[in-house]
C-alpha cells in the first residue's frame, strides 16, 4: 500500500486527511478520538481573544439539504468560534500535541482586526507546540457582524495586513483560510501571498439559507421563529470549492502557493481530486460529522489503493497533476466532436435520457419499439445530459468521432488538428486579430 505521508509547509502528517476547524475539533476529547481513528491532522476549532468567550445560540445550529434516502448533501451552520475559555483550549492543544507528535496540529485563530490583538494571542499559541496557525478569514455568520471572519476575508487589504502581523509575531507556518463569499477568489489569495502567507486553505463555508419553515415562515435552523444565514458546506459545495482551488493554483500570481483544500471531501476520490488540483492536504468536516471519525479509514485505504493502481509512491507524485488541464473556455478544442452511446445491455429502460433530451435538450434520442433508446447522431450535440441523468453508471458514454469521419449533425468532416474559439471564423475578436 502506497505511503500517504504528507509534508505540508514542513509539517508532517501520516496522511493528508486533516479535520477542518469546526465542531469536531473543539475539544481535546474529540481530537484524541480523531487521532485514534487515524486522522493525519486537525485544525483546532477557532480560538478567540482572551476574555469572556463568545456565546452560541441555544437552539438549533445546523440546517441540511438531503438527497434521496436522506443522504446529507449539504450542511449549514450558525455556530460561532469556540465558546470555551482560551486558556482551556491552549492547555488541551499542548497536551494533545505532546501525545501525538506525529500528527499535524494547527490552531485556527480569529481575533479583532488590530495588531495588538494578534500580538497578544500568537505567543500563547506558539507555547502550545502546535505546528502552525490558520487565520479564520472565512466564517460568514455572526463573527462577520463584529468585523471578523469573512468581514476581513472580503477585503484583500485586510488579509494582507493581518497576515503580515502574524508573520511578524509568529515563526511557524501561517495558513490563511479564505471565504468563498466574494466574486473572484484570486484577489484574497494574492493578498495572502503578498502578506507572506505560507499557504491558503479554502473554502470556508458559503452564506446560505437551507430551508424555510412553511408553517411559521422562519428560515431554518429556526431560533424562536427567526433565522440567520449560516455557512454551507458538505458534498454540495465541492464543485464550487474545487473551482476556487483551481483558480488559485493556475493564477500566475499565486501559482505554487501551497493550498489545503476544503469543501465536501467525503471519500478518497474527493480528496484525490482536490489534490490533483494542487492541494497538499485536504480538510474534512461534514463527512466526519455525518458518519463519525471512522470514515478516514476508507479515505486512507482508498487513496492508497488508487495510488498503487496508478503507480504513485507518494502523494507528491500526483498533487497538481490536473492543474495544467484547467483552462479557459476559449481554448477548448472545438474539433473534439463526440456522440452519446447507449449500452443496450446495461440499459434498464427507465427513459430518463429520453425525457431529458426530448423535453429539455436536442431531441437526439429515439424511443423505439420495446423501449429501446438510441441516439440520433444527426441531432446529438454531445451535451452529456443523458449521461448525467442516467441512473446506471457507464450505461451512456460519450465517444469521440474519429478525425476523417463526418459529423451527421453538421455534415462536416471532423478535423484532426486543434482549433479553438480564438481562431474560429465566428469570433469577431479572432478576425480583428488577423
Amino acid at each position: 500500500m502506497a505511503d500517504l505521508k504528507t509534508n505540508f509547509l514542513g509539517i508532517e502528517s501520516p496522511n493528508p486527511f486533516w479535520l477542518a476547524s469546526a465542531p469536531p475539533t473543539d475539544k481535546e476529547y474529540n481530537v484524541r478520538r480523531a487521532f485514534e481513528a487515524g486522522w493525519g491532522g486537525v485544525v483546532w476549532k477557532t480560538l478567540g481573544a482572551e476574555g469572556p468567550p463568545i456565546v452560541n445560540v441555544n437552539g438549533p445550529r445546523y440546517g441540511a439539504i438531503h438527497g434521496a434516502d436522506r443522504r446529507l448533501l449539504g450542511l449549514n451552520n450558525i455556530e460561532l468560534i469556540t465558546d470555551r475559555p482560551l486558556e482551556i483550549n491552549l492547555e488541551e492543544i499542548a497536551r494533545v500535541k505532546a501525545d501525538y507528535p506525529d500528527r499535524a496540529v494547527i490552531v485556527s485563530i480569529m481575533v479583532p482586526c488590530e495588531e495588538a490583538a494578534w500580538k497578544a494571542i500568537l505567543p500563547r499559541v506558539a507555547e502550545t507546540g502546535a505546528d502552525g496557525i490558520e487565520l479564520n478569514f472565512g466564517c460568514p455568520h455572526g463573527m462577520s457582524e463584529r468585523g471578523m471572519g469573512s468581514a476581513v476575508g472580503q477585503v484583500p487589504e485586510y488579509i494582507e495586513m493581518v497576515t503580515r502581523w502574524c508573520k511578524t509575531h509568529y515563526d511557524k507556518p501561517v495558513i490563511v483560510k479564505l471565504t468563498p463569499n466574494i466574486t473572484d477568489i484570486r484577489h484574497p489569495a494574492r493578498a495572502a501571498k503578498n502578506g507572506g502567507a505560507d499557504a491558503v486553505s479554502l473554502i470556508n463555508t458559503i452564506s446560505s439559507i437551507t430551508s424555510v419553515n412553511l408553517d411559521n415562515f422562519s428560515p431554518e435552523p429556526s431560533i424562536d421563529g427567526k433565522g440567520s444565514h449560516g455557512g454551507y458546506c458538505g458534498p454540495a459545495v465541492k464543485p464550487i470549492a474545487m473551482n476556487m482551488v483551481a483558480e488559485i493554483a493556475r493564477d500566475p500570481e499565486t501559482r505554487g502557493l501551497p493550498i489545503s483544500g476544503i469543501g465536501g471531501v467525503t471519500t478518497w476520490r474527493d480528496a484525490a481530486e482536490f489534490m490533483a488540483l494542487g492541494c497538499g492536504t485536504v480538510q474534512v468536516c461534514t463527512a466526519a460529522m455525518t458518519y463519525g471519525f471512522r470514515v478516514v479509514q476508507e479515505m486512507a485505504s482508498g487513496l492508497s489503493q488508487w495510488m498503487d493502481e496508478k503507480g504513485y509512491t507518494s502523494v507528491d507524485a500526483f498533487i497538481g497533476r490536473a492543474v495544467p488541464n484547467v483552462t479557459d473556455w476559449q481554448y477548448l478544442n472545438l474539433n473534439y466532436v463526440a456522440k452519446a452511446r447507449i449500452d443496450q445491455e446495461a440499459c434498464i429502460k427507465c427513459g430518463r435520457c429520453y425525457a431529458a433530451c426530448e423535453d429539455t435538450s436536442h431531441q437526439a434520442i429515439w424511443m423505439k419499439e420495446g423501449r429501446v433508446f438510441e441516439v440520433n447522431d444527426a441531432e446529438c450535440v454531445a451535451c452529456n445530459l443523458c449521461v448525467d441523468v442516467c441512473p446506471v453508471e457507464a450505461c451512456i458514454t460519450m465517444e469521440r468521432l474519429q478525425p476523417g469521419t463526418t459529423d451527421p449533425r453538421t455534415g462536416r468532416v471532423v478535423q484532426e488538428e486543434y482549433a479553438s474559439w480564438t481562431t474560429h471564423p465566428n469570433n469577431p475578436m479572432a478576425r480583428a486579430a488577423e
Binding site: 434521496a68 434516502d69 436522506r70 434498464i348 429502460k349 427507465c350 427513459g351 430518463r352 429520453y354 425525457a355 424511443m367 423501449r371 441512473p391 446506471v392
Partner: protein, 444 residues
Amino acid sequence: MAQGQMAPGIVAGRLSSDELAANFDDLHPAYAPHEAAVAADRCYFCYDAPCQAACPTDIDIPMFIRQIQTGHPEAAARTIFEQNILGGMCARVCPTETLCEEACVREAAEGKPVEIGRLQRYATDTLMRGGVHPFTRAAPTGKTVAVVGAGPAGLSCAHRLAMLGHDVVIHEAREKAGGLNEFGIAAYKATQNFAAAEVDWLLQIGGIVIETSSALGRTITLEGLRDAYDAVFLSIGLAGVNALRAAGEDKDGVIDAVEFIAALRQADDLSALPVGRNVVVIGGGMTAIDAAVQSKLLGAENVTVAYRRSREEMGASRFEQDLAASKGVKLMFNVQPVAVHGNGSAVEIELEYTSSAGGTLKGTGETIRLAADQVFKAIGQSLAGAPEGLALEGRKIRVEGPGRTSVPGVWAGGDCASGGDDLTVTAVAEGRDAAMDIHAQLSA
C-alpha cells in the same frame, strides 16, 4: 384422542386463539412513514413508466410515488383513486410481482423493484384513515343505472357513474357487498375487515344504493332492469364451480375452495372453523393457494396443493407459490385427481401423474395416494345465472370495447365478461371504463 393439529378428521380449534391471530395477521404490514420515505426514494420517475403501462388501471405510479416523496401521501392517494377507486384493496391483493413491480426498471437493474404495492397501500391507507372521500358528485343528471353485483367491477362502475351525477342501484345477490374482496381472497391480505370498510368509504360519494339479497333470476330480471333503468351493468362474477370429474367427488369432506374461503372470511371466531388434519387442494390458481395457506394457518397438519400441470404453467405466481411453501404447504406438480376414497367421508385421494409431452396433458398411469380428510376443489369457477339473450364468448358474456354486450343498453365487466385476467384490478378497470361509456351514451 389426539388434539390440535394431530386431531383426526375435520375439526375446529386446532390452534389457540393467539396462534390464529398471529397466523392471520397482515401479510404485508403497512409501511411506517420512514419505510415509505425510503421506499419512495428508490423510484426513478421513469419516462412513460413501464410500471404504469403494466397496471390494468393505468395508475400514474411515478407521480404518486413522487407525491409520497414530497410529503403528500393524501395527494398520492388521490392520484391512485382517480384511476382505481379500489386502490386500497388492489394495493393488498394485486399480484404486483407479475404487474407493476415486474415491470419496474429496478427489477431489471437490481432484481429488487420499488415496492409499488406497499407504497400504494401507504398512500391509500393514509387518506382513508382520515375518513376523507376525495371526490364529489357532479350535478345530478336524472339518469339511473342498475349495477348487478357489488364486487370490484360493480363497485368501480357504480362509483364512477355516481361521481358523474347518475343515480345507481347495485343489486347484490349476497347479504353483503364486496364480492370476492369480501368473500374470496385470503384473510391475511385484507385484515381488519378492510373490504367492508372500503365499501363504506366508497359509498361516501353518494348517489349509490345497494340492495342486498337481490339476485338475477330470483328477485330481478334483466328485462325488468332494462325497463326500470337507463342502463344496466352486469358484474355477476363466476358463481359456478367446475367439477372435479373424479370418482368419489361426492364424499363428505370434498368441498369447493371458494366456499371454504368465504366461510373463513365471514367467521367471527376462527377457532370455531373446522379444518381437516390432512388437506389436499386440487388446482393451481390463486384460489388454490389461498385455500391451502389458510388451511395450514388454521392448523391442518399436512396441506398439499395438487396441480395437474408444471410449476411454470401454474396460475399462481412464483411469489404465491413461495408464500405457500414458506407456510409449510407442499406443492405437487403434474398430478391429477382420479378418485377420492373413503367410506362416506374422504380418507384418501388418489392422484395420477401426468405428462404434457407433445403439448397435450396425459395421465401416465402411475398413481399415488395421499391421506385426505378434506379435499378442496379449486379448479376454476364458471359463469352461472347469466340472463338469457346475451351472446357468450367461450363461457363468458361477450363484450366489445368498454364492456358493451350484445344487448343495447347492457354492459358487463369483471370475471363474468370475456377478456381480462380475472384479477381485482382488471375488474376495477372494466367497471370504470364501462361507466365512462355508459356516461357517454347517456349524455349523448
